[in-house]
Amino acid sequence: MLKSIIRKEILSHFLSYRFSIITALSTLLILVSIFVMYRDYCLALENYEILDSTSEGAAAVIPPTPLSIFAKGLDENLCRAYAESLGRISASSKQQSVNDIFKLFTVPDLLYIIKVILSLCAMLFAFDMISGEKEAGTLRQSLSGSLGRPILITGKWIGGFTSLILPFFIAVLLGTIFVTLLPMVQMSVENWAKLGLFLLSAVIYLAVFFSLGLLISCLTHESSSSLVVSLFAWTILVFLIPNLGNILARQFVEVPTVQQLELRRRHIAMGAWIEFTRQGEGTPESEALLARARSEGDQVTEDYRNRFDRLVTLSQNITRVSPTAAFTFLATDLMGTGISEERRLKQAVVQYLSGSGDEEERDRPSFSYQRTSCREVLGRGGLNNLLILVLFDLLFFAATYVVFLRYDVR
């Protein structure tokens, strides 16, 4: 019976206009996205080559990753040229001009398509699977026989989700073939593994929204109500919680602005300078004074970094209440364009630029940086994000199952 239900679900989706429209739309979007993001990647690569050849070891700069085609994340930040100036590390903004349109609108990468558009498609696939059948009377007809409700709901889930995932995979497959044919993209085995894991997490992520849509369908008795509630839930999970998380975290962790930080550092430096000129150059007291001022400045910077890291960590933890946030963190970390990657890179840059001591800039070995491997990503919290998504899946499906067992089919 399960097979019959699955087959029927797939067939009924395939015959619907909704399926044709969603399939055409997602295929077109995915292919266009890959093409647009490839052009962006090529520009980023060109910029990197210019920066790399002109910096002559004075700056730390890394090439963009080809995986940024799929999830751009913070790749623009990561690919800036970091240099040391007056004892401070600053990032050049030269490379930020790759495509300013992306700053006005959302970057149309595969990550965006999955987390926003396909998650909506998942809910649009599921919202009337139960309430719509109740309205049509087919649910009553199906359950009038010896068909158990657990089999029906499981079959509906499998059949409906297969119908959703199939066009997605076809579109991604076409996109991936397209990427492999592109001359500027060189994908390593590690990158393929990361892409594979990214797609797997995308499937788990879409299953969350599909299960939620099915749950809402079981909680309502009219498809119009299901649609309204589904859209409301989708808006909260995809837009509201991820944006509110940061605002909420700021209520608990106070982080000074960059201007305030700069002012404090300047204040320390000015105080030290006045004292220094009063005591005179070359005295042991003045040397100690300079050392103390430097240490105080470093402490202020360190305090700022710690607070900022705490804020980011708290924001991440709060926003993980939304599967969209958990998926975004996981996907960008996997693609090497996430927050963890940026932190790791900054540490490497600080180590590189401040650890060179009195070496002449031109004698300094060029900066080399390996992005986080697939295994490291999973070890550093990626697995937690994946488990959060799986937990959402289980939670929503279990709730759907329980609610459907008591669903009034009359």
Partner: protein, 240 residues
């Protein structure tokens, strides 16, 4: 065989929909349940199909308790609703195959499905037509085809002739007679006294959840069933 024993249903809002209703429908018998809206006809059907639980009493299909062992009991029944609702985007054949598989009939050939559909009077061109293009009469016939292909001993019909034109209703009754000849126990709820008189072996008259009268065919064959119905309803009203 369909059997109801002291079946009672009181809804959460306090309304008594069924009040100690008992009757048995034997194989090869058509039992028509008559009554106004809210008399308890559909509640009876809903309990038999395990869509709701009775407050007390039991309902049995082929000896299996409908509410304690619903999946086992429903192996022995087919259901034809007032508006046979099937999948509009599927063809008649696809619908029939799906519901046959739910009824445990697997591996049926197209020929088998077509033969059943022909036997209920569906025209040749309708066999591969999408259901969204079917008329109500054609859908009801397909509902009978679904009941036939499962071939259970009992069939429950909830207002099956409602909204049918006279010709379609007559064709439908012909199909019922064939089912009776094949030994099916048929429970049919209806408002249509005229059709009930034409087809029923027994009629049950319900009022406010109570089965106020049961009349055999001999008792209404040459009488005005409408008068009997109205008389019984009046008597039930004045009864203590």
């Amino acid at each position: 065989m369909i059997e109801l024993k002291e079946l009672t249903k009181r809804y959460e809002d306090g309304i008594l929909a069924l009040d100690h209703v008992s009757y048995t429908i034997q194989p090869g018998e058509i039992f028509c349940l008559l009554g106004a809206n809210g008399a308890g006809k559909t509640t009876t059907v809903n309990i038999l199909l395990d869509f709701i639980q009775p407050t007390s009493g039991s309902a049995f299909l082929n000896g299996h308790d409908c509410n304690k062992f619903p999946l086992e009991a429903k192996k022995y029944v087919s259901y034809v609703s007032e508006n046979v609702q099937l999948y509009g985007m599927f063809t008649a054949r696809q619908n029939l195959r799906f519901f046959a598989e739910l009824g445990g009939k697997k591996g049926l050939k197209n020929q088998d499905l077509d033969n059943v559909m022909r036997s209920v009077g569906l025209p040749e061109k309708a066999l591969t037509m999408r259901l969204k293009n079917y008329s109500k009469g054609m859908r009801q016939k397909l509902g009978i085809a679904i009941a036939l292909i499962k071939d259970p001993p009992a069939i429950i019909m909830d207002e099956p002739t409602s909204g049918l034109d006279p010709r379609s209703a007559n064709e439908f009754l012909d199909q019922l007679r064939k089912l009776r000849e094949r030994g099916k126990a048929i429970l049919m709820t209806t408002h249509d006294i005229f059709r009930a008189k034409q087809i029923a072996d027994r009629v049950g008259i319900m009022k406010q959840g109570r089965l106020v009268a049961v009349r055999k065919r001999d008792e209404f064959k040459h009488a005005d069933l409408e008068q009997i119905y109205l008389r019984e309803m009046e008597a039930a009203e004045t009864a203590p």
